[in-house]
């Protein structure tokens, strides 16, 4: 499943960070889940717990946090949220794999442009403490 690959990315990134900084453990990994990518938090969480046990670094705690998706149009400056628009299932699934394909399926609700920026909530990002 796709969430498994994302979980693997997170664990490998933490391992790489720990190796670079000669750490045998990290205290906390915060995983921000952008609303746009619609990651299944339960599946991702399960995969993270599985992979964490085999990781080359001890990770004391993993926190999953959600981030609302907000867009701003580069043409007219309008800001909107994902919840403000309708999106069919096929488009949601495509965006789940590669969020940038949103430009194929989502237009600015005010001016119709596909030239906009995701202000927040695009996909996965992590913070390590």
């Amino acid at each position: 499943m796709h969430e498994w690959a994302l979980a693997e990315s997170i664990i490998r990134a933490v391992e790489a960070y720990a190796a670079e900084n000669k750490l045998s453990k990290v205290r906390l990994v915060k995983v921000y889940l952008g609303e746009l990518q619609a990651i299944d938090a339960e599946v991702l969480g399960f995969a993270l717990q599985q992979l964490r046990g085999e990781a080359a670094v001890e990770i004391e705690e993993i926190k999953l946090l959600s981030e609302e998706a907000v867009f701003r149009c580069n043409r007219c400056g309008h800001e909107w949220r994902l919840s403000d628009i309708e999106l069919d299932e096929a488009a949601r699934e495509a965006i789940h794999f590669v969020p940038e394909v949103m430009h194929t399926y989502i237009k600015c609700p005010r001016c119709g442009s596909t030239d906009y920026t995701v202000v927040s909530g695009r996909g996965i990002r992590i913070e390590i403490e």
Binding site: M1, E8, R12, P99
Partner: protein, 246 residues
């Protein structure tokens, strides 16, 4: 607290696991990168290699059209990541699966982000070589791609037209200044070997002259018929070069 984008680590790991990564490039558009990439991938497959083919042109993908793949999510399989689609024996991945072939306008940073997202989740199980069709020019995607694999080689493509050759020289010069090896120089849509001397000058293997093949258009969209074209036969003469490039 340190913020990290985990996709880069994973994309690099996945490409590090591929022993040969060949980027097909040119600064000029319309010189035949997509057709060359596709036919070369098919020819390598027919020689016995397990071949991956990645369309890195996210705003204007074309490999799926050459191969005759209907773009859409229907062919995508998930198994601890995303698996490329077997088309004519070649393992193929493209953004077109996700756009359904619709238009996709991306700013540079978004093209980079989409590229690394797809490479982070795409698994290339057991391939011997990954052929990457790139968009024209040298932009964010090229710089990202070159940095992701330690096994990077480039096949630079040009027609014999002066406009194309000037563009080729700039492109090659830039690649060499970045320490990227131009392993092959493809002279496309040509009847005589005008670029052989230049290939020797830069230490690249000359691939050409590849003719303009009037039969190609009819074969577009059908891997079986592509393999019957004159252009395929000409390109297939050069598959042995990959053993010298790595």
């Amino acid at each position: 607290m340190v913020a990290i984008d985990p996709r880069w680590v994973m994309a690099r790991r996945r490409l590090e696991g591929v022993p040969r990564v060949l980027f097909v490039e040119s600064s000029k558009g319309g010189v035949g990168k997509t057709v060359f990439s596709t036919l070369y991938a098919l020819a390598l497959r027919d020689t016995g290699y397990t071949v991956g083919l990645f369309d890195a042109d996210f705003t204007n993908p074309g490999v799926h059209t050459v191969l005759g793949v209907e773009p859409g999510l229907g062919l995508i399989r998930e198994e601890k990541g995303v698996l490329p689609v077997d088309v004519g024996g070649v393992l193929f991945m493209s953004i077109a699966f996700y756009t359904g072939g619709g238009p996709l306008g991306l700013r540079g940073y978004e093209a980079s982000s989409a590229l690394v997202e797809l490479l982070a989740v795409t698994r290339w199980p057991g391939i011997d070589i990954l052929v990457v069709d790139t968009p024209p020019g040298i932009s964010d995607e090229h710089m990202d791609l070159h940095s992701l694999s330690p096994h990077t080689r480039v096949a630079a493509v040009s027609t014999p037209s002066r406009l194309s050759v000037e563009s080729l020289r700039r492109h090659v010069s830039l690649l060499r200044s970045e320490g990227i090896r131009v392993a092959g120089l493809v002279e496309n849509m040509s009847s005589e070997p005008r670029l052989r001397g230049y290939a020797e000058e830069i230490g690249a293997d000359y691939i050409g002259p590849l003719p303009h093949d009037p039969g190609l258009e009819e074969a577009i969209g059908d891997p079986g018929r592509l393999r019957e074209t004159r252009l395929y036969r000409e390109i297939a003469r050069f598959t042995g070069l990959v053993e010298r490039w790595w």
